[in-house]
Amino acid sequence: MSRSLSMEAADRRFGWLMSAPGLALLLAVVLFPVFWALFTSVHEFTLIAPNFDTFTGVDNYVTAISDPAFRHSLWLTAFFVFAVVLIEFAIGFLVALMLNSVERFKPIYYGILLCPLLMNPVIVGLIWRMFLHPSLGIVNYLLTVIGFEPVNWLGSTKIAIWTIIMVDIWHQVSFMIVLLLAGLSALPREPYEAARVDGASVFQSFFYITLPLMMPVIIVTLLIRMIFAVKTYDLIYIMTRGGPGVATDLVSYAIYRTAFVSLNIGEASAMSAILLAFILLLTGYLYRYMRTLT
């Protein structure tokens, strides 16, 4: 008995020893920057005077929260994330279901679908900015050919955010498709065969078998996509710079401006910490929900 216990302890030690380099690396590249940012957020740290001489406590947090522009950015980001994740999920799940039942030319469909995802967001922004040029772009040209009025895609405060959402969907929907398709292909066949024997319709199979079995994959997919969407910065920088007015001023771009235009790293770190807290809360909630499902 004592021999097996000591072997178990030795195994555990060996396990820790093998994991140590990986854990050390993880600490260095993930936890250290996070703690450094948190430490910076309670100091007056600017790039003009990059030192930790002045402890400010929660001042940077208060300044950020009391700034109406930052609060606007947070709300706008929440709306943006909700819209892109929901629409991308709806389209992604539909396409994944269709592809799952396809037998021929699957690799070709995959190739086409993956093209936008492989493109750099900066390139995506530049291409779409050209396509959507109000007077010289191809989109408005095609609209006028079929009798519609040209649209002010990026210059109207009412339309600009939807244009960004549309471009983001074009770029990222394949990510949803690929993850959901992987989940669908891994589902067991037996429940479907049993349901068919019992005379279940396609819709019944979908709602009573596919959806419940897919739930953990769906939650993880939504979670990953949501975190990526919160960080959207490149498209805004290339396409609108937050304008017209403040119509597309997402929070990541606002943080970038505070850090690299205002050079106020302390306040930018506080803004990032606030954003991180929201993301952690949401992640925690979704993770717990996923655990109840499994």
Partner: protein, 427 residues
């Protein structure tokens, strides 16, 4: 064994020699603009004269500040010399990132009196200390269509409509009248660069100066929310929404330039380097039909152009400041500055502006000089980039109809006063 030893020694010697041969090299971060290309074309001459290699790292404007700051903060950075946009002058000098050049200028007898004084104020001296040598200027001017002005039908229609002769506008009021007159069907009177923050902030500054406004008084109190400022913003909003092409509220300068170059507008207030570009038939459908002039002011002969420029500087973190100074002296010598101007570069020295060869090749050089001499400077202080951000946001809100001109300018005034106070400019 002996052979191995000999080989290793040979290799060490070759490495040492090659290191010695390339010991002197100057690294510079520059923006990807035509003036950088003109410098690049002349670099072999410098290496031939001095034996110093020059490595230019050319990046997009948006990346420059982000790349520069970590190098400037470090005790020893990787850039021997840098180019500084006028936006950053206050910030870089306040942070103590630039080396004063006065001792070097005095020791080598380098003449800085040849520079246009306004440029020395903008990207040369700060509080009496010389930190930079002006590199090239990008003052803004009015690009306008000469063929439309010369058209007989247009002349007759304009006379009938306004009772005035049609010609290059002598005053701001006349220009606004022409913008309205030329807006017919697909042809627009003006194209604007309404993207926030810098395109709109820089362009609107010309409107402010044209209405007789300024950013601040002698004590650095902001002076924007007044009749001149409000008129300037009302006119800008009208031009974007009524006399400009659809979507110009989100145009950067390249998109606005394309509209002008593709025969879409009568006029465009923009950077002087577009004057050469508009005559390039590969980019422009109106080559030979466009001229540039200073943005007109309230009275004939009063210019309202916004000044803009880059300066050469040596950072305190420069690994080899002496070699960097050798390069700066060479690149800013009369001969090299003239060669750059002959390639199409934008001069900063009066002797290059007045050079007969340069004027013969580019007849609009005189207009460029006038533009510069009658131009106005944007406020240069530690927080210029933040001011541009605030200004861009508020102007964009006003153009989008989400704020009145007075409310938008009141916000800019408040925030500008706070920034000036923080910088110690406003007591």
């Amino acid at each position: 064994m002996n052979m191995l030893k000999q080989s290793l020694m040979g290799l060490a010697l070759a490495t040492a020699l090659s290191t010695a041969a390339h010991a002197e090299s100057v690294n510079i971060l520059m923006e990807g603009v035509p003036d950088t290309e003109y410098v690049k074309a002349l670099l072999p001459e410098f290496t031939k004269e001095t034996g110093i290699e020059v490595n230019l790292e050319v990046v997009n404007y948006a990346e420059m500040h982000t790349k520069l700051v970590p190098q400037l903060v470090a005790p020893t950075g990787s850039y021997s010399a840098i180019v500084v946009d006028f936006y950053w002058v206050g910030e870089f000098t306040k942070a103590g990132w630039l080396q004063p050049l006065d001792d070097r200028i005095k020791a080598d007898g380098f003449d800085t009196s040849v520079y246009v004084p306004k440029l020395m104020d903008l990207v040369g001296q700060v509080d009496g200390v010389t930190y930079m040598l002006p590199f090239y200027n990008y003052a803004m001017g009015l690009l306008y269509r000469t063929d439309l002005l010369a058209d007989e039908q247009n002349k007759a229609d304009y006379l009938a409509a306004t009772g005035e002769e049609l010609g290059p506008p002598k005053t701001w009021g006349e220009y606004l009248q022409q913008v309205k007159f030329f807006t017919k069907g697909d042809m627009k009177g003006v194209v604007n660069q309404g993207l926030r923050p810098d395109p709109i902030a820089m362009e609107w500054s010309n409107y402010l100066f044209a209405n007789g406004g300024e950013y601040h008084d002698a004590d650095w109190h902001a002076t924007l929310n007044n009749p001149a400022g409000i008129a300037a913003l009302d006119q800008y909003t009208t031009n974007v929404n009524e006399y400009g092409p659809l979507g110009s509220a989100s145009f950067s300068f390249d998109e606005a330039f394309n509209v002008m170059a593709q025969d879409g507008a009568y006029s465009y207030i923009t950077y002087n380097f577009f004057r050469a570009a508009i005559d390039d038939p590969s980019k422009s459908a109106v080559a030979g039909k466009v001229e540039i002039m200073p943005v007109p002011g309230q009275e004939p002969g009063v210019g309202a152009s916004l000044n803009g420029a880059w300066g050469w500087a040596i950072p305190k973190s420069s690994p080899n400041p002496d070699a960097a100074w050798t390069f700066l002296k060479w690149v800013e010598s009369h001969e090299i500055a003239k060669q750059r101007a002959l390639q199409g570069g934008s001069p900063t020295r009066v002797d290059v502006f007045d050079d007969a060869d340069v004027n013969a090749k580019y007849p609009y050089t005189g207009a460029m000089k006038d533009m510069l001499l009658t131009s106005h400077n944007f406020p240069v202080f530690t927080y210029t980039p933040q001011l541009v951000e605030v200004l861009g946001r508020e102007l964009s809100l006003a153009v989008a109809g989400e704020k009145s001109s007075a409310d938008a300018l009141a916000t800019v005034e408040t925030e500008m006063n706070e920034l000036a106070k923080k910088d110690g400019k406003l007591k």
